[in-house]
Symmetry: C2
Subunit: 324 residues, 2 copies
């Protein structure tokens, strides 16, 4: 593909490149052209601001997800904390001792049921207020075992720029994550500049308790899954939380396939853009297609836009010193 | 109570009264003072913009709800339409014939279960897209049996001003309604200037269907209740959809009690405001305390702000000619 000149990738009005961490090329041009067209009242593909809904998956789309979803490290850290006061947590699960010592989830031999029970154990039976404080503290202190960066410093800089670019063009940006809704809110809302109410995710059951007789009324987190925000549940939760069809959708794995298809199917051609973040940079990030096979096939079939992290991202992570 | 002078109720900077449809008095002064204080960085009660969350009930708080919730008239109109092609709908419920003829829901002898089954019948087994169009059309054409106004013209003008006033002061305003989430969105989003994603309500189950083999993927509305957004469910859904504790909460009935209590309990004194809309104007609107008895007792006990529609609202409805 012909590399685009700097001029073609620059904002027509100001001459400033709104996506400096993206390399020049077809992908960047497609994004810039889409936004230019749909925000131009004279263009046939014009979209009014109230319908400019953009949805982003989180793990592997906005920040890294290897060696496992970062929320898994939060689970381990919480388990370690819980097992101090409650030693039988270790003995109940023979692998847990090893997991806690190694902080290694790659060789995880747990069933889906085991994983869910560990998630519920570490995310529930606590007030919402306490949980929020815990995630905030974790996000400020926990580090990735390989890069030694704080996890929140492993947000992809080009994607944060893309969010800002869309916001500046009066898109309303939402995160639609398979991760826990409150985990993502408390860890990442400030990093992305996306408010809590524009973050959707998996959730457990919330229970209001009445504070009349003594204590204050509050929200308790119950050990029961309410919504697992993956695959077909993503468009369902988009309807519940947003109530409109997105016109811009970004994902990286098979769990995002329905969200991208829903976006493509329910807009006229030229009135939506679907992006797939392809993990093909084994040097600067990770290289894998596992759990993205179906999405890759469909993206090629439908001519969705495949973002090569190797070719299209000029840099991956923000400079550690300047990262928030 | 001493009536406040015009000067005291005016915006200090511009001299323009931001709430011209409210009479001068203690209630208006409380609202203006609260907003002045929490938006002033020098004030001890300052609240940062991202925490300025305001929640409003809908029926009886933002628009009228007599002789019954306006969504009930939508149900009747839909039943009439459905029974044209499906006559056994009438025969299945012996009262329905009478209801449809009279459009009278005041003497309704239906059980809660019957009501729910009529709601599900009229709100489901249809695509989300079709449902949206139907509500939009209804909102544009249906009229209130007593006032002859369109239902959307029975939004209280002082409340619409209050929403605008809060928005101008960088509050994020949400509707938290017992009514159907998509009914409120499609009928009222434009009237209030509140986007779809900031409207929360009762919901039925959404089901994504895959469009691979032929048709487009879409959201179907299933005949199954997912969330009945009343009482303790309101704070639970506030956590799910907003993820923050409100600092400004307005309601009018016992179904709003938990929402107001949750707001009051989880903020320091001076850092939240709770309003109760009291229906005490039998001349210009309706006068009733039914189903608001507990909220009235609690509001007096907690010194929440009771808005008298008779005394505090200078006018009730917008001028019909200028209404949208």
């Amino acid at each position: 593909m012909r590399p685009l000149s700097n001029a073609e990738n620059r904002n027509a009005t100001t001459g400033v490149d709104p996506l400096p961490s993206w390399n020049q090329g077809i992908v960047k041009a497609r994004i810039l052209n889409f936004v230019k067209n749909v925000t131009d009242p004279e263009n046939t593909n014009y979209i009014t601001p109230e319908d400019r809904i953009a949805v982003f998956d989180n793990d592997g789309t906005l920040w890294a997800e290897k060696p496992t979803y970062f929320q898994g490290f939060f689970v381990l850290d919480r388990l370690e904390e819980l097992s101090k006061s409650n030693p039988e947590i270790r003995s109940r699960n023979p692998q847990l001792q090893q997991l806690l010592l190694n902080k290694n989830l790659t060789n995880l031999q747990l069933s889906k049921k085991d994983v869910m029970s560990l998630v519920l154990l570490t995310h529930s039976n606590i007030t919402q207020h306490e949980f929020n404080k815990m995630v905030q503290k974790w996000a400020e202190t926990a580090h990735h075992p390989q890069t030694q960066k704080r996890f929140v410093q492993m947000v992809y800089k080009p994607m944060n720029e893309l969010i800002d670019f869309l916001k500046n063009n009066h898109f309303k940006t939402f995160i639609v994550s398979g991760g826990g809704i409150d985990f993502v809110r408390e860890a990442l809302s400030k990093v992305y500049g996306i408010p809590h109410d524009q973050i959707i995710g998996s959730s457990i059951k919330f229970r209001y308790t009445n504070g009349r007789n003594g204590g204050n009324s509050t929200i308790l987190r119950e050990p029961e899954l309410a919504s697992f925000n993956e695959k077909e549940v993503k468009p369902e939760n988009i309807q519940l939380h947003i109530g409109k069809v997105p016109v811009f959708a970004v994902g990286n794995s098979d769990g995002d396939l329905e969200m991208l298809r829903y976006t493509a199917d329910n807009n006229s051609p030229g009135k939506s853009l679907e992006l797939l973040i392809h993990h093909d940079d084994g040097v600067r990030e990770y290289s894998y297609d596992t759990l993205a096979e179906n999405l890759l096939i469909e993206a090629q079939r439908q001519n969705w836009t495949i973002v090569s992290m190797k070719d299209d991202f000029r840099i991956i992570y923000p400079n550690t010193n300047s990262a928030s």
